[in-house]
Structure formats: structure tokens, C-alpha cells
Symmetry: C4
Subunit: 245 residues, 4 copies
């Protein structure tokens, strides 16, 4: 029961991504329009993603195998997520990434439209200390888009904004989180939402984004080298889903 | 399983409006005093609305068919919503509207009593970018009312404030949301509440309603032309209600 | 199924107060230390209150009949609420009151310790417009108390602060709400908590307690004369408790 | 059904700590990474703590008996909490303490990174009035740690910061709460989170940490001498867990 994909079978990866969908809905990170994918353990040029549907009810039979251009590997008549290019282009740009979440994580959206940078408030949110770049779609294709990542070119732009970080905010839209396992990307997505809430509260208490002690650069580096697989949380969340199923 | 009313049968419309009641209660948009209606697919001069009761427990047998003056089409001994004129007058003024919600959506009420205009924080809330007019009942009948839409004249005033928009705030009372389908009006009502929360959070983070990047006019226009039927969310919410029933 | 006590039997009153306990816990108004009572329909000098216990698990057998001095009418070996004098002294001072809630309603407490007066944000909270006095126990017995209403003298002081209003805040402690029925006092308690939240949000949006349009004096008066029995909400909440029991 | 450990058997203590884990998860105080322990009733130099796992699913068989150095008393192959030194060193320094919680209590974290001291907003939170010291790990071992209490030396530093108080904040990490019983430490942990929320709300309403009437020194002293065992809440929470199990 861990989310590691490197040693997991194809079926385990599919099960992981199904569980990830349900956990992220229950934890308030995914609404009806976000998605989570995992790279295929058999072919780094492929990944698993649900067909176009709300994540709450995704089951194994809903998972589709796609190539990095977002084309289904097997003949497919079902509707696919318009924004599957987010996933393909991040997998292409980031060989270290094994799982991707695109969310409308509610408390994260306000940070994406404000000028206050998101910074890590606690040790479990240390991954945020790598920096949280912002993808401003107006910089990529000008004003007047519908903000969706509708093609590979936009997916490449988003992957470029993400760079080598764990998180990228999408202005007026949501966020992308990446990880080395499904457990890690789910954990990071949950704690990203939490960090947003706690940082907002620290700002409320302090009367602004000052006199707040965020993690230091040295602490962020130490934490990044040692911690953050979120396996313990993942295991508990999976058990919770099994019980509630 | 979609909320379109134009091609739906009378019975499907009634089922939609029952589901809509339950979904909006579970999502925190309706308390015990709001209501949702759908226009009759057989006669644009009629609509379906529950008898006077709390929305949480509405069933098909509780739905009453009313004309645009708020009179029951069939003999009716049960108590009707005092504010049914909200629905009738909006259907009269807006042929494009097929479904109406009147709510006391909690986070929306504070916007209705403050001077800060509600503006769209993200792509799913693009419909808010049409503008969010405020109905100030003091402008209609002077100070000293109980704020309720007790007759057709007040219903007409409210419909006039709404104009051609998707949403109208009611000062010191709540809001009205309209849509082309039950799915759309339910989705808009849920995301209106969300937008209120996220805009308030952006204001908290930013120390005021400045330095916030709302959707631009061009983005709002593009989104409005392409997106926003909320069918995917509606489908998931209906499944959730079925499971919990 | 209504909360009126004037025409209700003794057993119905006891059932009402049991339901009221459960509803107020589920709605987040009562924690493990608050209480709700109802005046006896047979004798205005007596009231029904649970023995000292957490409200979540109160059943009919836990209800004790007390006189206005807080003494049990029948021999009683079980522990009683220390603060039962709140109820007795309010019933003594206010013949119109048939039901009393003492809560630690969370969002109400911050108003009790701040200098910003609570004012009604919407029509359902009109009862707040009567004014919300503050009971400062230091004014009654000086600094250094444990803030509890430990005897009849303190109960009388609190009843005096309440005066003819529907609500009285207790600084650093909670609030007292009164009503003409159990339905009304439960509804007022739930909407008092809501008003606190919404007023706080309006302050957040507006950057302070200004530029906010509260209900006017004339609106408050009109609403007070016509509305506010909360029977529809009470009925729905009772059904919810029955289903979840 | 009370949380007193002084007269409780070894098995009752283990049951208490299992229940405490579940209650604190349900109340939002513990995430997947916090822990709660109880001192052995048979030997003050030993305590009971779960093996390294998420608290939501702890059962009696998961509880391990440790000495104050954090070594298991019986041969143990299962993984232990890295931060068990928090518990051992506090039990060593504080003979009066019978139970310890280490949490990432969400609303408490923002206070630990801001300059605004936590102060008691209400009578149930009186224990906070003893003062809430802050453990700044940079003062103990300099910048660049991962903020975890990885050994006995750090545990001693933390216990020193705690001193004779009920609570100690850990900057960028969480908090430690102590009590004379499991009931008390669980109650204090729940009401610590609540106090953080209510104080933040009072600051929001008041536009800063001024014009707020916290409990006075005299009130804090009186409350501390009389109140605060949280037995009534503990009993209700245990019943809730039994029903939901």
C-alpha cells in the first residue's frame, strides 16, 4: 500500500490514480473539473488519465492510456479531457515526474491572483519552499483566452513556467502539482491547499504579509533532501476511502 | 442525465428540480428558506416550484405548477412560497431563462451589503463577469419593507435589476441566479458562493480589493461564448445524491 | 411537528428540548458545555433542562424539571448544570419567554470580546436588530470570577442585561438566546451564529465596519412584527435528526 | 468512562490513547503526522504511544510501551515515531503530566509564525492564560534543521520551552499540549485550536489585536484553580467514536 510508481505494475498505477481522484475530492482539492494522472511504469512516453468526467466517480474502467501528445494509445470513442496536454507536456519536460495533478484548489486560487507570494508556513509544506512560479496565460498567448490549456503549445508554456519546481499556480484558474509518486503528488496537493489557508491566516493575524517567520532557505533545503514522500498520509487516506466505499 | 430542459419531459424537469433542491442544500447554497424552479417544457408561461417547505426534503409530489403570475395551474390547498413572484417575473422578462434559484447563499450576502463589487476570480466563475447588479429594495418601495418579494410588482423590479445578467444580489437578503438549464443554474449558484469566498480571501491576502488580477473583459467574453453549462458537475452531484439517498 | 410550547403537552415539550439539543450540536452552536431549556406548559414557574451532560447525547430520560430557583421539582440524585440559574432567572424576568439557549456559539464569542456591535446583515437575522446587549460579569461581581453563572444573583444580573431583547452576549463566555418556542430559540441561535460569520466577512471585504448596509431601523421593526418563528427550518432540522438517528 | 489515568489500569490507558487518536483526527487537530501518548499507570518512567502510523487507524495492538529515552520496553520490530523524544522528555521534566499531544493543529500554526501572542478568548480556553511559550528550534540548534525533534537533546529543549505551562507552540511545525489525563490533554488540544480560530476572528473584527477583551489575570487564575478537566466533552466524544466505529 504505497504510491510508488517506479516498482508498481500497470494495474497498481491505475488503482493509485483512481484512489487519488477520490482522495483529492474528499479533501476539497479537486472539484468536478480537475484531474490526476500517473506515468506508465512500462513506457515513460505514456500516462494514465481518466476520460472526461468528474473525479468523484472515476473507476478503473474510466482510465485511458495516452501518449505525451495527448493521443489515446488504444482506439477510444469516449470524450477526453480537453486539458490533457498539461499532463503530457509536463511528463515530456520532467523525466523525474511520475504523477501530475491539475486542480482548482480553492484557497490556492486567491494566491494566484494576488501579488503576495506563497511561502511555506511549516515543515510539512517544505516543498513549497522551492518557489511557486505563476503561469500567466496572457504572457503566453495574450489577453482574451478562456484560460484553458487547449493544446500542446500551451502545455509546453505551462511546463516551462513550472520549471524544476513542485508546484505552479495558474492565474485565474488553479494550480499544477507534480511528484515522484501518486502518494507524493496527492500529499503535495493537499498540503498546498493547507499552506494557502494557513498563510492567509498568518496574514490575517499579522495584519499583512510581514512579521511572519516562514521556513528559511536552509530549512527548506534540509527538508527537501530528507522529507516529503507523504506515504503515511497516503496509506491512511486509502484506508479511509476503502472504509467509505 | 443532463439538466437540459428544452428537450426534457415534464417528469424529467420535475426530477431535475427535486435534485437541484437537494444538491443546493448539501453544497451550502440553500438554507431552509430558498427555492429553485424550472420552466415547464410544455408551456413557457408555466413553471415548477415546490410548495412552501424547506428544500432539503422536497420530493416530486411537493412540486406545484404555477403560471407567471404565481397562481397554481391546478387547484391547490397547500401553502405556496410567498416569494414565488421572483420566479414568475423573471421567466416573463427573460425568455432565455429556463431555471431560477433564489438563495441566502451565505458568503454572497456580505457582498450584497458591502461596496466592493463581486468580480470573477477564475475561469469557472466567468459568468460573474457579465456584471453582478444589486437589487436594493429601498429603491423600489422605500425604507421599511421586510425585504421579501411579496408581489408581482416587486418581482418585476427585481427582474429589472437582474436585466440580462446571470446573477443579481439582493441587499440584506440573498441572491437570484438564472440559467438555461437546471444544471446551469445549480452550477452557477454553487460557483457564485465559491467566487464570493475566494474573492474575500484574495482581499484578505492583498489587504484590500487592489493588486488583484480578476478575469479581463476579453477573457470574460471568450469564456461566456464557450463554457459554463456545468453538465459535468451536475452529473457528479446527481450521482452523489443517488448514493446518499 | 412544530416547536410551539403554549399548546404542547409536557411530553411534546420534553421531546422538543431533546431535539433542540441535537440540532444545536449538529449546527455547531452547542459544544459539550451549552444547554437548552423549555418552560413547562403546565406551570410557568417550572422548566425542563437536561441533567449535567453533553447535549449531543441527551435523551428524554435525561430531562429534569426545575423551579425558577433552579431546584429540582422531584427528588434528584443526578448532577445538575451549575449554570441552571441562567434559565430560571430569565423565565422569572420574562413571562414572554418559553425557551432559552445558553451557548458557546463560536463565531459569536469574538463579537463579545470586541468593540464592534453585532448588527443584522439580512432579513432572517432581523431579530438581532432589537439590539445585542453585552453581559460583562466584571460589572456584576468585579474582576476575578470564573465567568460562570453560579447562583441566582448572577442569573438575575444576566437577565437584567438581556432586558427585553432576543439575545445577550456574555463576554469571554458565550451567549444567551431566548424565544417564544423551542423552534424559535433554536432558529435564532443558528442564525445568530450565521450573522456573526457574515458580519465578520462583510468587515473583511469592506476593510472595517464601515460602508456596510445593515438592516435599517424601519426594516428591523417591520420584520420583527411579521417574521421569525423559524418553524420551516425547525421542521426540516427535526426530519434530519430523525433520519440520522 | 473518564480519562483519568491515575486510577486507571494499563489496558484502560491504552484504550484511552486509542480513543484520543481518533477523537483528535475527527476534530481536525491531528493530521496523519501527529501523535498522542499517556504515561504508564504502573511505572512513571514509561509511556504508551502508537507505532509510526497515521492516528486515524490506530488500534490497541499498535500501541508500544516506551521508556523516557524513547526506547521500546519490549522487543519491537515495527517502526517508531521519529519524534517520540517529545513525549519522553516532557514526562521526565514534568511529573505532573500524564498525557502529551504533539499536533500540527492547523489554526495554531499561524500563531506560531506570527508575532501576535495567543491569549484566551473565553472561559473554556482559560488554560491558555498560563502563557503560550514558543519553541524556536533555531535557538536550540541554529538555522537549517528540518524542524523535527529527532533526539533527546531536542526533546529536552522543547520541554524547557514548555516549562510549567499547558501548551508550547513549535514555530513552523505545530504545538505540544500536556495534561493530567488523556481527557484533559485532548480537551486542551481541541480548545487550543478553537481559541486560535476565535482570536483570529476577534482580530479580524477589530482590525488588529487591540480593543479586544481577553480573560484577565485574575480570571485566568480563578479558572485554572477550578475548571478544565474536560471530562464532559471527553465522555461525549468517546460515545461519538463508539457510534461511528
Amino acid at each position: 500500500m504505497n504510491g510508488s510508481t517506479t516498482r508498481r505494475t500497470r494495474q497498481q498505477c491505475i488503482d493509485d490514480v483512481v484512489k487519488g481522484n477520490h482522495i483529492l475530492v474528499r479533501r476539497g482539492v479537486l472539484d468536478s473539473y480537475g484531474h490526476i494522472s500517473v506515468r506508465s511504469p512500462d513506457d515513460p512516453g505514456r500516462f494514465f488519465l481518466a476520460r472526461a468526467m468528474a473525479p468523484a466517480t472515476v473507476e478503473a474502467g474510466d482510465i485511458v492510456e495516452l501518449d505525451l501528445d495527448g493521443n489515446p494509445v488504444h482506439p477510444e470513442s469516449r470524450k477526453l479531457y480537453l486539458e490533457r496536454f498539461i499532463h503530457g507536456e509536463i511528463y515530456r519536460a520532467r523525466p523525474d515526474v511520475q504523477a501530475v495533478v491539475h486542480s482548482h484548489s480553492p484557497t490556492v486560487i486567491p494566491f494566484g491572483i494576488s501579488k503576495v507570494p506563497m511561502r511555506p508556513v511549516c515543515q510539512l509544506c517544505g516543498f513549497i519552499g522551492q518557489g511557486v512560479p505563476l503561469f500567466e496565460i496572457r504572457d503566453a498567448i495574450g489577453d482574451g483566452s478562456d484560460l484553458l490549456i487547449r493544446d500542446g503549445a500551451l502545455g509546453k508554456s505551462l511546463a516551462q513556467s513550472l520549471g524544476d519546481k513542485a508546484v505552479c499556480l495558474q492565474r485565474g484558474h488553479g494550480a499544477v502539482t507534480v511528484g515522484g509518486t501518486v502518494a507524493q503528488v496527492v500529499g503535495r496537493s493537499v498540503y498546498l491547499e493547507l499552506n494557502a489557508r494557513l498563510q492567509m491566516q498568518a496574514i490575517t493575524i499579522s495584519g499583512g504579509d510581514h512579521d511572519i517567520t516562514y521556513l528559511s532557505e536552509a530549512e527548506i533545503e534540509t527538508i527537501g533532501a530528507k522529507l516529503g514522500d507523504f506515504e503515511r498520509a497516503w496509506e491512511a487516506w486509502c484506508l479511509e476511502e476503502d472504509e467509505l466505499a
